[in-house]
Every structure is written in structure tokens, then in C-alpha cells.
């Protein structure tokens, strides 16, 4: 029962995750027809798989390169890796001043490289991986209709991924706030400004909003940028529906232009995510003088 391919179904297909979750009626399933029934207990298998693979790629890239000792000429890959570390360190230094926080460096490096890799997936032509999944799952009999096999391969166009990372950063900010300022100090920060102790509920409402806005904007900014970029790739790909050579060439040209421009977005968003991560952590380290 192959559905008719319309531009709407094409876009929908591209924007749907391969989801596995628990349902009341059939238990654990990866069938998208039960998507609404899964509720919260659902996992975007594609996003998770790709992000883990890219994380492993990051670890492998930075771990498996040969580090020549200091008295020898560094290898090329070593230069690259050290350049990344240097870059991260410089950003930390410019935001933090100096810090003895040993976690911030690795955290920022992981964010930078991992998010960059995940964003980079956006430059893979939009149909490659989804079509591949369609054909493979149909051929192997996992799905009856190839259009039921979903695969969304840019993890950062999934708000769960970006907000999940933002959540990690948020937890760290809370942790360091309490660690540096003490629980009392943290609560005081939340309740005693901007209007002093006579307006505690109002202060709290303001500050808690400010606190929660940070991770939310952090995650949604990355998601929004990449989602929009992906969307435009899909829309350009829609030109192919006209089945005409002119639109085909136009589509190719637009794809190229948007991909070139997107290289900027991809690296810039990874950089911004890293800088904001460092910034939020440095704010957690600030004490007093409010």
C-alpha cells in the first residue's frame, strides 16, 4: 500500500525520526503508526545512533592520533588537535579570566567538536541516508512500505538532542553555582535581587525565568538554526518535483550555494554553543557583587 509521493509527504518523511518507544497496546515498538501512543517513553533511534557515532568519531580522532613528545616535531594531526585545544583554551581564558576548573576545558572541547560533527551531517545531501534506509529496510522486510522507514540523520535538527546537551550544561551550572557559592548563596542569588528582601517572590520569579531561559535558549538556538537550514535543503530538493531540466539545474545551483553558506552556519553554531557553555559556567563561578 505505497502512499502517493507528494511534496507534503516528502517533507514529512524528512522531518520524522525513526522512533522506538513503549506503547500500552503493543509494548515496545519502532512502528511509527504508534508514535502518538508512545508519549514520553520514546527514543529517536536515528538521532541517538548518529550522535553516538559522531561522539565516537570525536574520541577516536582525538585519542588515536600519535602524540609526539615535546622534544620532537609534532605530527600533522597533532597540530590540528592541539590547535583545537588551544582555541578552546583561549576562549575559556577570555571569558573566565583564569580558572582552576578542570572540567570546563574538556567540556568545551567536547561541545565544540561534537556539535560541529553533528551539524556537519547537514551537508550530506538530504536524500542519501533516508533513501538508503528506505531501501534497506524494505529489502530486508522490516517495513512493508518503504515510506514507513524513517531516518533523520542530522542530530542537531532534533530538539531532544540540543536540549539534552543544554540540560547537561544546565545541570553543571547549577552544580557549580552551589559548589562555589554554597546552597545558601545560590538561593540568595535567586531570591534577593534585583529588588532586595522585600520582594522575594517577585525576585524569584524573575531570576528563575532567567535561569531557565539560559538552557532553553542554548538548545533552541542550535536546533532552530540547523532545523531551518535542513528545511531549506529539503525545500530546494522539492524543485525536483517539477521533473524539468531547468529546475533541476536551478536546484543543483541553489543546493551548492546553500551548502557553501551552510558551512558557515555549521561551524558558527558549534562555536556559539561552546562559547555560551563556557559563559554560563563562568556565570556560575561568579560570586558576590550584585
Amino acid at each position: 500500500m505505497a502512499k502517493e509521493l507528494t511534496s507534503k509527504s516528502y517533507i514529512d518523511h524528512h522531518l520524522t525520526n525513526l522512533t522506538c518507544g513503549k506503547t500500552e497496546s503493543v509494548g515496545w515498538t519502532c512502528d511509527h503508526n504508534y508514535y502518538d501512543e508512545m508519549g514520553f517513553m520514546a527514543f529517536h533511534v536515528d538521532s541517538i545512533t548518529i550522535s553516538i557515532l559522531l561522539g565516537v568519531a570525536f574520541v577516536a580522532l582525538f585519542k588515536l592520533i600519535k602524540l609526539n613528545p615535546a622534544d620532537q616535531k609534532p605530527t600533522r594531526m597533532q597540530n590540528f588537535v592541539e590547535m583545537c585545544v588551544e582555541f578552546v583554551n583561549e576562549n575559556i581564558k577570555s571569558i573566565f579570566g583564569s580558572t582552576d576548573n578542570k572540567l570546563i576545558g574538556p567540556l568545551a572541547l567536547t561541545v565544540l567538536i561534537w556539535v560541529f560533527f553533528m551539524n556537519l551531517m547537514d551537508l550530506i545531501p538530504v536524500d542519501f541516508l533516508p533513501e538508503l534506509t528506505k531501501q534497506v529496510s524494505y529489502a530486508s522486510g522490516i517495513v512493508d512500505d518503504p515510506n514507513d522507514a524513517y531516518f533523520k540523520f542530522v542530530p542537531t535538527t532534533d530538539p531532544n538532542i540540543t536540549l539534552g546537551m543544554a540540560l547537561g550544561v544546565f545541570i553543571l551550572t547549577i552544580f557549580y553555582s552551589i559548589k562555589i557559592k554554597g546552597l545558601g548563596g545560590f538561593i540568595a542569588e535567586l531570591t534577593l535581587h534585583p529588588f532586595g528582601k522585600f520582594a522575594i517572590p517577585f525576585n524569584f520569579a524573575l531570576e528563575i525565568m532567567q535561569l531557565l531561559a539560559k538552557p532553553l535558549s542554548l538548545g533552541l538556538r542550535l536546533f532552530g538554526n540547523l532545523y531551518a537550514g535542513e528545511m531549506i535543503f529539503i525545500l530546494i530538493a522539492l524543485l525536483m518535483f517539477f521533473q524539468s531540466a531547468v529546475f533541476g539545474v536551478l536546484g543543483l545551483g541553489l543546493h551548492l550555494l546553500w551548502a557553501l553558506f551552510h558551512i558557515l552556519v555549521v561551524s558558527l553554531q558549534a562555536f556559539i554553543f561552546m562559547v555560551l557553555t563556557i559563559l554560563y559556567l563562568s556565570m556560575a563561578h561568579e560570586t558576590g557583587d550584585h
Binding site: L15, T16, N17, T19, G21, M38, G39, F40, M41, A42, F43, H44, S47, I48, S51, I52, G55, F58, V59, F62, K63, L67, N68, P69, A70, D71, P74, Q78, V81, E82, V85, E86, K102, L103, G105, P106, L107, L109, T110, W114, D158, P159, N160, I161, L163, G164, M165, L167, G168, I171
Partner: protein, 156 residues
């Protein structure tokens, strides 16, 4: 595209990767970089020290060269002085010697002349006697007239 458990799992995966980076990736890279930095700093320091000591060596060298030049000039001057003194001495000595030689020569000459004169006197007196005896045809007893002859000779 709902928010679901993916968010939690991604947060956990994120934590795992940050931990891996914190534990296994960051420290070796950073320590290599720091080590190299230290080594470079040490190298630069050593280069600076070498420069300094080179400068110092140059100064010492220049000082010693100057001293050596002065000493050489001194020695030359002394040698010049000494040589002129030796020359002078030699001159004086040579002049004295020459005078001495001349003196002794003239003395000798005088002696010789005296001697010759004496001999000539003798010869002359005998010639005179012989001539006179020939003239007067008479043997003059030399012994008898010795006094006369002597007187005559002295008169010559």
C-alpha cells in the same frame, strides 16, 4: 518531533563523552602542549643566556685585544728605545775603539819614524864618515873619532 526520552538519553550520552574527554583526551594533549611550551621557554632562555655570554665574551675579547695591543705597543717602544741605546753604545764604543786604534797607530807610526830616523842617522853618519874618509883619503879610526861622528850625526 516531540520532546521525549531522547532528551534524557542525550544528556546522559553527553555526560559520558564529556567524561571520556575529561579523563582520556584532554590531559595527554594538554600535557604535551605544556611540556612543549616549557621546553620552548627553556630553549629561548638558553638562547638568551648564550647571547648574553656571547656579548660578555665579545667584551672580554675586546678588552683583552686592547690590552694586548697596548702591551705590544709598549714592547715595541721599549725595543726601539733599547735598540737605539744599543746603537748609541755601539757608536760610542766604536768611536772610542777607533780613537784608540788611531792613537796606537800614530804612536806606532811615530816610533817607526823615530826608528827610521835613527837608522837613517846611523846610515848617514857612516856614509858621511865613509865619504869623508874617501875625501880625505885617510882612514879615520872609527873608534877614535867616534865622538866626532856621533856629534856630527846628532847635528844632522
Amino acid at each position: 518531533m516531540n520532546i521525549n526520552a531522547t532528551l534524557i538519553s542525550q544528556a546522559l550520552i553527553f555526560a559520558v563523552f564529556v567524561y571520556i574527554c575529561y579523563k582520556y583526551i584532554w590531559p595527554p594533549i594538554l600535557s604535551t602542549m605544556e611540556e612543549r611550551e616549557n621546553k620552548m621557554a627553556a630553549g629561548l632562555e638558553a638562547a638568551k643566556q648564550a647571547d648574553d655570554s656571547l656579548e660578555e665574551a665579545k667584551l672580554t675579547y675586546e678588552k683583552e685585544l686592547k690590552e694586548a695591543k697596548e702591551e705590544a705597543a709598549n714592547i715595541v717602544e721599549k725595543a726601539n728605545k733599547r735598540s737605539s741605546q744599543i746603537l748609541n753604545d755601539a757608536k760610542v764604543k766604536a768611536e772610542a775603539e777607533a780613537e784608540k786604534i788611531i792613537e796606537s797607530g800614530s804612536k806606532k807610526l811615530e816610533n817607526e819614524a823615530n826608528k827610521t830616523r835613527e837608522e837613517l842617522k846611523q846610515q848617514l853618519s857612516s856614509i858621511v864618515v865613509e865619504t869623508a874618509s874617501k875625501i880625505i883619503d885617510e882612514e879615520i879610526d872609527e873608534k877614535k873619532h867616534e865622538n866626532i861622528i856621533k856629534k856630527a850625526a846628532e847635528e844632522i
